[in-house]
Symmetry: C2
Subunit: 209 residues, 2 copies
């Protein structure tokens, strides 16, 4: 019943501005990195002047931090998804790694977020901390849950990797890094990499008697 508050043109614009600016900031920071990006570049991309940016964001650092927050979609949904997986534990692992590929390797925002954490982390330690809390911790927990359940069900071997699930799943990171670095000049076959990765961690290299 409470009708959408009718906003004037002015108020609409004002309500939109921060998002427009944050998205422009993302593109510019991706292209040039934090230091080399001028606040004016962001402004020009939005189609306003520098003053407008400072009307909405206190400093360039604030702008960067808010941009990071804006593109971050925490992994809590991955944990949630991981809990809902069904089928054999091999299938669950396969689907879990598929989720990771879709997020870390294929999703541009998440990929660039990782790059920001790597490249600007020393300037923004809070960003690194938050990334650890929101991505790494849930990721490890979800992976360990599946592996432990798989062992309990008798489908997986018990072994050191159950306590250190990243050692099994980490090849995702290599693909992600190589996508970052070489995606344009040496395209990777992501599907083939994915299949090889799942195959080797499920079956191992050693031929079975």
């Amino acid at each position: 019943m409470p009708a959408e508050k009718q906003l004037g043109q002015r108020a609409q614009r004002k309500a939109q501005r921060p998002q427009e600016i944050l998205e422009a900031a993302f593109e510019e920071f991706v292209e040039r990195g934090y230091v080399a990006t001028r606040v004016e570049d962001v402004a020009r991309r939005v189609g306003v002047t520098k003053g407008t940016i400072y009307f909405y964001f206190e400093t360039k650092e604030r702008l960067f931090e808010e941009m990071i927050r804006h593109i971050s979609v925490p992994f809590s949904d991955i944990s949630a998804n991981a809990k809902n997986l069904s089928g054999s534990y091999s299938e669950r692992i396969r689907m879990f790694i598929r989720l990771l590929y879709d997020r870390i390797v294929m999703d541009r925002n998440t990929r660039e977020l990782l790059r920001f954490v790597l490249t600007e982390g020393s300037r923004f330690p809070q960003v690194v901390d938050r990334h650890h809390e929101e991505f790494i911790v849930p990721f490890k927990a979800a992976a360990r849950d599946i592996l432990e359940a798989g062992v309990a069900a008798g489908e997986f071997r018990d072994g050191p990797v159950i306590k250190i699930p990243d050692a099994a799943i980490g090849a995702t990171m290599m693909l992600s890094v190589w996508q970052m670095l070489f995606a344009d000049r040496k395209p990777q076959d992501v599907e083939a990499f994915f299949e090889a990765h799942v195959d080797v961690i499920l079956n191992g290299l050693i031929a079975k008697g």
Copy 2:
């Protein structure tokens, strides 16, 4: 018989300077990144003034590129080492991954080189290209050699991973990245990670009948 050419103090200094400068540049660029490092910072660390840097290096970009070249020890030695491995193929894989850990994860220069490639790669595409030629290509080739020989010997299963060895070995990258990001605040147990990694790719997760 040809005695060491006796160099005067002056000539000795001049011969030493470039290395001193490159090592100081490495430290400064590691601390602050390319853009935020001032040429004067590098000079101060050496104990000279800015002019001296420009006496030896044309521009700041040149200084950075030469610094990268100075700390790069190509992986060709890894390929050579890989060829000399002996024992069962499981043991060879184990030793090969150990070599990678020693280089990528533990060796500061190589670790920071990877960081530079990631962080400054867009500014220095030649650096990225060279890294691909000198590190990635030899690395893949050496890994594939071992895997294929292992299959030929009947010790390893044939499977998609034989053609894409990075899918087996890539967890190294995750550890490396996490060392870069969280080494100070959340220390990793590198040895445990290594053991878990080798265990899972050799034996896989699935329990054997």
